[in-house]
Symmetry: C2
Subunit: 242 residues, 2 copies
DNA sequence: CGATATCAATCATCAGACGTTTGATCCAAC
DNA sequence: GTTGGATCAAACGTCTGATGATTGATATCG
């Protein structure tokens, strides 16, 4: 295994952690394998031993590796990874946003988000509804290809998840945010028209506003079904391009 | 604010992180407040600056705090925390396993776990089913008050979540494991008899085995409803004791 | 009064040393 | 020959003191 680094590190510890992390989530470094010694890694990334140690600690906190004296640092099995961690997601998406990943993500979204919308429809406060409406209005009035549009999209979904008042459901909000932001180009390339986007979000919002839990649930399912199709075609385009 | 530590640190960096982390999740340190300087913290925990720095980095990786030159280290808002992180959960459970926490947890479980069981019923391989059965058999044949019983219980729920083959749903498995392990005493104290436990798990397992998605879903909902009631009465007992 | 330059507080990184853990090896006793 | 323990060394873990980098605050000058 060649440990020399192609991409030059940006921030010293975080950059090294990102480089190593990418190799791990991409499968370039398989679980169970042992990393080189701390000193060697430090040298190859052109950082001090201490910074390298911090980089490894970072990966360790995300469950990607595990260190012990004499045994060295080994890559932990995938089941141990913090798969909802922001960095892990970003590394995974940028390395291999393949079809299986998209399918898994949307399967989870279909389970979690419509139910969350139903909860919000029942128990949401005025402020939460206002926040959702603000996000929707922004989405409806900006160019679908603009960064503001994707920001509003993210805000819409996060407002619903956070609006449940449930910290465990809310934990999914950053995941959606990361995915939508990263998949921005892919999705918008795949579907330049976007006619369905605004009406489908409107249906979700209006159901929530009138306290219609079942309506919100259904509208959200429809929204996700279409959204997944777009994402999948985007992935297909990328796969062909690669 | 008195920064001196009651509990003496165990492992140098992790111990300090745990002590600080507990204070943050317990609300003892409110978001937005600034922590003392690195050197002062290090002195109060009787560790070196380096170890203290690592402790803070650990909390930083979990989203609890954020450091910057000149500004110091500040506590981040709750919405930024990695609420599914093992340590954060443990700290939160041990500090305040209050009713709201239990309600949120089971609300999320009711959304995620029955659907996961339904997925497993449809798509599970022989090995996955065998693993679930192994866990169930262990649960059925051991003393409900034994550590083996709770281990089997955790294994049962984790086997289902992992059996979906969906990495995002599987991400909830450690959460369930942490909760069940930590809540062990509470639950078992509240319900010494446990007659309902085995039959309800059996119902879930058998539905999965015969590929009955709807049956698995329903059986799991019933299981969780009873389980939440037990947990809530356990929390009530603890609240009264405190 | 406002814009800019300076300052200083605090975290970030470095280098070198020493401590700690633990797998591996060797040797002795049975 | 096998087994058990003592020794060794390789790797991570921690410490110390110094230096660099960043940025909020302040003072100065136009």
């Amino acid at each position: 295994m060649d440990w020399r680094e192609g991409e030059s590190g940006t921030l010293r510890p975080a950059g090294a952690a990102a480089a190593l992390g990418r190799r791990i989530v991409s499968g370039n470094l398989i679980p169970g394998s042992t990393l080189p010694r701390l000193e060697q890694l430090a040298e190859q990334f052109s950082i001090s031993r201490l910074s390298m140690r911090e980089a490894i600690k970072l990966l360790s906190a995300k469950g990607l590796v595990s260190s012990a004296p004499r045994r060295g640092t080994i890559v932990r099995p995938r089941s141990e990874w913090s798969r909802l961690d922001h960095d892990v997601l970003v590394w995974q998406i940028s390395e291999q946003p393949n079809a299986a990943f998209v399918r898994s993500l949307f399967e989870a979204r279909v389970i979690i988000e419509p139910e969350s919308a139903a909860l919000v429809a029942i128990r949401a406060t005025e402020e939460v509804i206002a926040e959702i409406e603000r996000a929707f209005q922004s989405m409806a009035t900006t160019d679908p290809r603009s960064p503001e549009s994707i920001e509003a999209d993210v805000a819409f979904h996060q407002a619903i998840l956070n609006g449940t008042g449930n910290e465990f459901l809310a934990a999914f909000a950053p995941v959606i945010g990361t995915w939508l932001t990263k998949a921005f180009r892919v999705q918008r390339i795949a579907e330049p028209a976007q006619e369905h986007f605004v009406p489908q979000h409107r249906a979700v919002f209006e159901a929530i506003k009138r306290g219609d839990a079942e309506g919100a649930r259904l509208a959200f399912r429809i929204l996700l079904t279409r959204s997944e199709a777009d994402a999948m075609s985007g992935v297909r385009i990328m796969d062909e391009g690669a």
